[in-house]
């Protein structure tokens, strides 16, 4: 009986989940992939979003890399009450070349995360998530040369 209920629940929840966009992506045009990597890393470091590691998934076109990014202060504020969120940490910021040679930068859609978990988060945690989102978006903007 429990299995039936859980299956039904999963089905219903997945139906609702389909409406959520899990990723946030931006296109960077007219720049080489390696240049974007370097500039984005510098921009993230400048906002205390430390790039702990870079996983180069594909070094041949289409190139694909994943930054593992962490801000210790954000982790300190969120993880004691919601330790599960460590499973989406370090934050994955991925970059890949699309068919037209543009570079797409993406990461988890934080507004979606907030929508799903809002009733479990206190004001401080919500603020931390929003600031993290702003920091990453600002770093992408800086990479594009938009200040």
């Amino acid at each position: 009986m429990r299995k039936v209920l859980l299956t039904l629940l999963l089905g219903l929840s997945l139906t609702f989940a389909v409406d959520f966009k899990f990723e946030y992506e931006e296109k960077i045009e007219g720049m080489d992939f390696e240049d974007v990597k370097l500039l984005l890393k510098t921009a993230l470091d400048g906002r205390n979003m430390n790039v702990l590691d870079v996983i180069d998934v594909s070094t041949e076109p289409p190139r694909f890399s994943v930054f593992l990014v962490c801000n210790l202060t954000y982790a300190q504020d969120i993880l004691p009450d919601m330790p599960e969120f460590g499973t989406i940490a370090p934050c994955r910021i991925y970059l890949y070349e699309d068919r037209d040679g543009n570079v797409i930068v993406g990461y988890i859609n934080i507004p979606t995360l907030l929508k799903i978990y809002k009733k479990f988060l206190d004001e401080k945690a919500v603020k931390v998530f929003k600031v993290a989102d702003e920091d990453i978006k600002a770093a992408i903007k800086e990479t594009k040369g938009e200040f």
Partner: protein, 163 residues
């Protein structure tokens, strides 16, 4: 008339059941995360066993990020033991991630290992089901199999350490 009433009655029952399930079980933590609790082992022992077991299972360990140690080095007191274990550096990830880049949140995988409030150690991983469903239109059968096989092995590793 009887038929209509029967259908309406059925819909009412289904609606009530759905509402009951949603109210009591629709916890996004349960949908998104898989957690096992380890009793009787120290935090460091859990990390050691997990690291060893991941490599033996073909879920190649990438690194362990000792978050609580880093915070303590900064002067943060009273932060519970906490590490993130990065693993699941599996064959086939290139093809999968080029199709659905967002799945870099699943592969490689992050395990959260932490002292829980009950005095034990918990190990948490993401549940892959939600993401497979979300991106099913972009994934081949082989892609789905890769994700499911990886996470099935991962759960076995976690359960093995938790025993």
């Amino acid at each position: 008339m009887r038929g209509i009433l029967f259908i309406l009655g059925g819909l009412l029952i289904v609606g009530a059941l759905v509402f009951f399930i949603y109210k009591n079980y629709a916890n996004p933590f349960k949908l998104m995360f898989y957690t096992q609790t380890v009793q009787g082992k120290s935090f460091d022992k859990v990390i050691e066993e997990l690291s060893d077991s991941l490599n033996k299972s073909g879920l190649k360990l990438i690194r362990v990020l000792p978050l609580s140690k880093a915070l303590k080095a900064r002067g943060v007191k009273d932060f519970p033991n906490y590490s993130m274990v990065l693993a699941c550096d599996v064959e086939g990830k290139r093809e999968l991630l080029l199709k659905v880049p967002f799945l870099s949140n699943l592969i490689p995988c992050s395990l959260a290992v932490y002292d829980n409030k009950e005095g034990g150690v918990s190990i948490t991983a993401l549940k892959e089901t939600l993401f497979i469903h979300q991106y099913k239109s972009k994934l081949s059968e082989e892609d789905v199999k890769l994700i499911k096989d990886t996470y099935s092995k991962l759960k076995k590793v976690i359960e093995g350490v938790a025993q």
